[in-house]
């Protein structure tokens, strides 16, 4: 066998093994697209059905409602957000599973386990913190907290998958910080962070890696 081709094959195999074993590459751009569309639908439902287009300034609007009405409204908004979260997660698992089948890769590997742990630690901590904000009635800090903790989770998970996830995380954190500075429009930042950014990211990833 010719030495040269032997060495370059060696190198190719090494590079592929190092890449495949250290990063989860079955994440699909479709997950981002799907999550973004769900978030837009959730925002539309919140704006038109739950808040009845009155205003996007939650507190001002909620203060003028009776205690019972505002409690009901908050519960509806939280339910809306939770439905979006659960469906988006389910979608990302489904699209990853589909992509790994198509590429003949395993879904459940040491690296996908590490990815999930690194994603869910900040996410669960964030969920707990948001629950505290909810109990303390710190309503206006909930959306900034959602975006910042989600961004941190993505930055953390980015080490184990496409590096674009890291940058998406940074963008979510910045959006969350802006949402904290401009607290009068939480729904706008929620829609921007979870809707628009996801769709932009999803389209970019799909065209770059799957198109």
């Amino acid at each position: 066998m010719d030495n040269k081709s032997n060495y370059s094959d060696d190198l190719k195999i090494i590079k592929k093994l190092m890449e495949d074993s250290s990063r989860f590459l079955s994440l699909s751009g479709l997950s981002g697209l799907f999550a973004g569309c769900l978030a837009l639908a959730g925002a539309v439902a919140a704006h038109f059905i739950i808040l009845k287009t009155k205003t996007s300034v939650l507190d001002g609007f909620l203060i003028n409602l009776s205690f019972q009405e505002s409690g009901k409204m908050k519960a509806l908004l939280i339910t809306d957000a939770l439905i979006v979260l659960i469906l988006a997660l389910a979608g990302s698992f489904y699209f990853s599973y589909r992509k790994s089948l198509k590429k003949g890769l395993k879904v459940w590997t040491p690296i996908s386990k590490r990815l999930l742990i690194n994603l869910f630690v900040p996410l669960i901590a964030g969920g707990f913190f948001i629950l505290l904000l909810f109990i303390a009635n710190q309503w206006l800090l909930i959306v900034p907290a959602m975006l910042i903790f989600y961004g941190l989770a993505l930055v953390n998970a980015g080490k184990f998958t496409y590096s674009e996830i890291f940058y998406l995380g940074i963008t979510e954190i910045i959006t969350g910080m802006l949402a904290g500075l401009f607290q009068e429009s939480p729904l706008f930042f929620w829609t921007l962070g979870f809707g628009v950014l996801h769709i932009g990211y999803g389209l970019f990833m799909y065209r770059k890696y799957e198109g």
Partner: protein, 98 residues
């Protein structure tokens, strides 16, 4: 040219060994079954190559129990990391100069 060739390590001439080193170079640790699956080799084949690498102190072996099941995981040693990187560089150098 002589210095490049000396970076090529005889121990890494086998594809399975090269594969093991590549995986361990980028992961803190990897267990036997996952190595077997990733590399697509038989138990006996993998075990013999792991033994050779262990005897040359290129990898570290960590035996433990997960529940009642014995689980053997492997990680790269400092010496292994250094030799593997040198080998990689030498491969790249050869391909570039030819």
């Amino acid at each position: 040219m002589k210095s490049v060739i000396s970076g090529i390590n005889k121990l890494f001439e086998n594809r399975v060994r090269l594969g093991i080193m590549a995986i361990l170079a980028v992961n803190d640790s990897y267990d036997f079954n996952n190595l077997k699956e990733t590399l697509g080799v038989t138990d006996g084949n993998l075990a013999s190559h792991l033994r050779a690498l262990e005897e040359n102190e290129l990898i570290l072996v960590n035996k433990q129990f997960i529940g009642k099941k014995p689980n053997t995981s492997y990680s790269i040693s400092e010496k292994g990391q250094k030799l593997f990187r040198t080998h990689l560089k030498a491969l790249e150098e050869i391909i570039r100069t030819q």
